[in-house]
Structure formats: C-alpha cells, structure tokens
Symmetry: none
Subunit: 230 residues, 2 copies
DNA sequence: GTATAATATTATAGTATTAAGACATCTATG
DNA sequence: CATAGATGTCTTAATACTATAATATTATAC
C-alpha cells in the first residue's frame, strides 16, 4: 500500500523536488509550506511519514516535531537540518525525530531513508491489516471501521456497505439499481429511492457540508459517483 | 508477545518520550511519577521490566530498586542516572539493577537496551509461559487462568473460550456466527443470541462498568470486537 | 422563464438489534 | 443424592436503524 508522506518545507523548489522523487517511488505525497499548515494536514489525513524542515517561518520545525510526536506516536519523522545543528538533540528525547538529513541532500538518499523508516515502522508498529485506502478515507474491513483522516466515523451497516462499494470503485458512476443490488441484494422489493435517502445519510456523516458534497457526487439522471482524484 | 514495562520518572516530558518509543517497539507501557506510585503499580500489575530514574521526589530510585529487587527477583530493572553517579554501586549487589543509562540518552538506544534485557530475562528467567498478553489482561492457556493486572478473574469455560478468541484477535470484528462456531462448534443447534448472553456475562466480570464497555465493543449489526488500542 | 423530471431533505412510524434480567435445566463434585 | 455453579432459553426493556412518504429544492428541456 502506498504510504502517505507529508512534506513540510517553505521553499517551493525543494518541496516540489522532494515530492517528485517520492511520487516516483510510489508514495502519495502531501505538501505544506508552514508548520501550522503541516500540523493541520497531519490532523486531517492519515499521514504515515513526515519530512520536516527545521527552518520554517512561524512555528519552527523543532516545535512541529515535538507536537507531532506527542500527538501521533506512530508517525515517522525525518528532519531536514543544516549541517551545524545538534544531532543528539534532534534525535534524542528533546524532539524525538526518527531520522535526519543535512542539507543539501541527495534526493535518492532521501527516498532510501523514507523507505528504511517505512520498514522500521512496519516491523515495530501494528501489523498490516487489509484496509481500503482512498484519501482521506480508510476502511478497515478486519475491524469494520471507517476513518476520515485520523478519526473514526461510526457508520451503520447500510452506510458502511455503500461506502465500501464506492471506495472499492472510485470514479465509477453507479446507477441506483447497481447500488441497490450490491447493498440490499437482488431480491429487494421496494423503491430505489431508498438509495437517495441512504446516500444522504452517508453524506451527512462524511462530507464537510452535505449540501455541497465533494466526495459523493450526483450523476444527474444516472446515480452517484465517488469523486476520484482531481 | 508485548511485555509490560513500567517507567518511573518524575519529569513528564522524558516519561512521555520514553513511553512513545517503547509503545512503538510493541511494549505495553505504564507510567509512574513517584517511587511510591511505581511500587504500587508493580504490586498490582504483572510488570516485566522497570525503567527507573534515580532522582525522584520522596523515595529515591536506589531505594525503589532495592525494594523491587527484593520483592520481585525476576523483574528487569534499568536505571537512568546522571553521568557522575557511581555505576558500580548501581549495577552491583547494593541495589541490583540489570542495566543503566546515563542522561541525556537516545531513545532508540533505550529501546535496544530494553530489548536486550528482555532477551536475557527470557533465557535465565522463568519458563516461556504460553500466555497471551493484551494489557491489562493476560491468559495462561495451560492453567486456563485469566488475569486482569495481577489479580485473577475466575471465568467459566464458555467465558474463557470467548475471552481467548478475542485476545488472540484484538481489533477483529467478529460476527455472532463466527463466535458461535469457535466457542460452541459448528454443530451447535440453537439461537446465536446465546452469544449475546455470554458476552454480557464476560463483560460483567472484566469491565469496570458493564453497561459502558471499554474492552468488548459492540459492532452494530455485526457482532463484537475486542478494542485494539485507544 | 416555465414546466417537468430528478434529486434533496425532513419527519415519522415501524422494525430489527442489542441489553438486561429471570428462570429452569443441566452438570460436575463431593 | 444434594448442592452450587454453569448454561441455554425466554421475556421485557432500551436503543438504533431504516423504509416510506410527504415536501422542498434543483436541474434540464423547451
């Protein structure tokens, strides 16, 4: 499963450069240009690894690292530092990053470090459970739990079933009858309008604003579609 | 299986960082901020290894170490000391700790020390108990005993079987039929509501408040799940 | 713009699920 | 054989879910 990496770096050229390299290595990459933005994204998305610059406008990288480590013990953190900085302090108790690289750095090496950290996290951290991922959502079929970013959303059986169908087929436009067959079974007798009602319930739980849905789109005259990446 | 580590350290930031790192390495971690608290927890829970700061308010670390060693000969103890302290005294007969680290220290190294001590304890110490651990619970499959912390909870055969199934598969959402098949066997004739009744009985024994269960969660429309982590 | 069809929203009543308690039967043990 | 504990069944209560229907809103075609 392609892990999700967040880059927190104010200089755009470096950020893009890192992104391109991690993209190519098969990671999903999010970007933040300030510490505040980084913390916000980390709170919303289920980020696995953060590549964090020390020098940031506003809250500096050390502070961001400390906050991240406190909030998300299982997060991997790689810091980008200047040569002169105190490595013990960075890696040690004070801030608790998992690895560091001194600038300027070789992008290939960064990718290697990310990969190595990923392995470490997998070994120590929890086992890999079959989960369906579609950022910012994740469905854990093993425990039957649905997550938006880091927080669980409790779904009813019907809602869960619909969400699973969508996330297994992002971008596909489903006719009401198709949804009906999958969720209610082929022998269901009744109006296909129940699909609408249950879509609405699902929307009200997962959308920011359920009257302006951004995840479950209406395909007029057909049915509904889980919005694939823009 | 994840061993239980107790950290006795008054400074919260250090305590938290040690906890985070041990958590990630797969240990269950308990915290105490004073020597008294540490001794109390050690008496209640089946702690395997203690990480013990020397400088503590009230009873100091040396004294805590001596008491622990006297009471629990098989306990592993790692002391955290300042650079200047007399290492021979710490490691020697006087107090009898198993290992030490000087502050400031690298958390990664601490994890390595804990792991190494764990191995040593397994070789020298007691038999490899075929026990399932899921803090604060422990199941001894041979003697068919069930513990919450240090105290045994007497379970009936049916309850024990359910508890075992859950603790072997933390986080998994079990359908009633799955539980039925495992506990009662595939040839059981009768209603699957029997599962509900026995879950209730188990809850009333192991939960603080069985109407607000925190260990055995209800998965609505499906069955039950042992809560994996908070 | 207006009519029409499709979809969104809301409320409610009915249904299904789970929790809790009580009881009778069964089983092991002395 | 007597007893205590274990276990399955039944009943009732509490809770959560969901289909239906009725109304409002929005999109499309003309």
């Amino acid at each position: 499963m392609g892990r999700l990496v967040l880059i927190v770096e104010d200089e755009e050229s470096i950020r893009k450069f890192v992104k391109i390299n991690l993209d190519r290595a098969g990671y999903s990459v999010l970007e933040a240009s300030t510490g505040e933005e980084g913390l916000q994204i980390a709170a919303q998305e289920s980020v696995d690894i953060v590549v964090l610059d020390v020098m940031l406008p506003g809250i500096d990288g050390f502070e961001v690292c400390r906050i991240l480590r406190e909030k998300y013990p299982y997060l991997g953190i790689i810091m980008l530092t200047a040569k002169s900085q105190d490595i013990d302090k960075i890696m040690g108790l004070e801030y608790g990053s998992d690895d560091y690289m001194t600038k300027p750095f070789n992008p290939t090496e960064l990718v290697l470090r990310v990969k190595s950290l990923e392995r470490r996290l997998e070994i120590n951290g929890e086992d890999e459970k079959p989960s369906l991922d579609f950022h910012p959502f994740r469905i854990d079929v093993y425990s039957r739990q649905f997550y938006k970013g880091k927080s669980e959303i409790i779904l009813t059986p019907t809602e869960f079933s619909i969400a699973k169908l969508f996330i297994e087929n992002p971008g596909k436009a489903f006719k009401r009858d198709e949804i009906l067959n999958y969720v209610w079974g082929v022998d269901f007798v009744g109006d296909s309008k129940i699909v609408d009602v249950n879509i609405r319930r699902l929307r009200s739980k997962i959308e920011e604003d359920s009257s302006q849905p951004t995840y479950i789109e209406t395909v007029w005259g057909v049915g509904y579609r889980w919005k694939s990446r823009e």
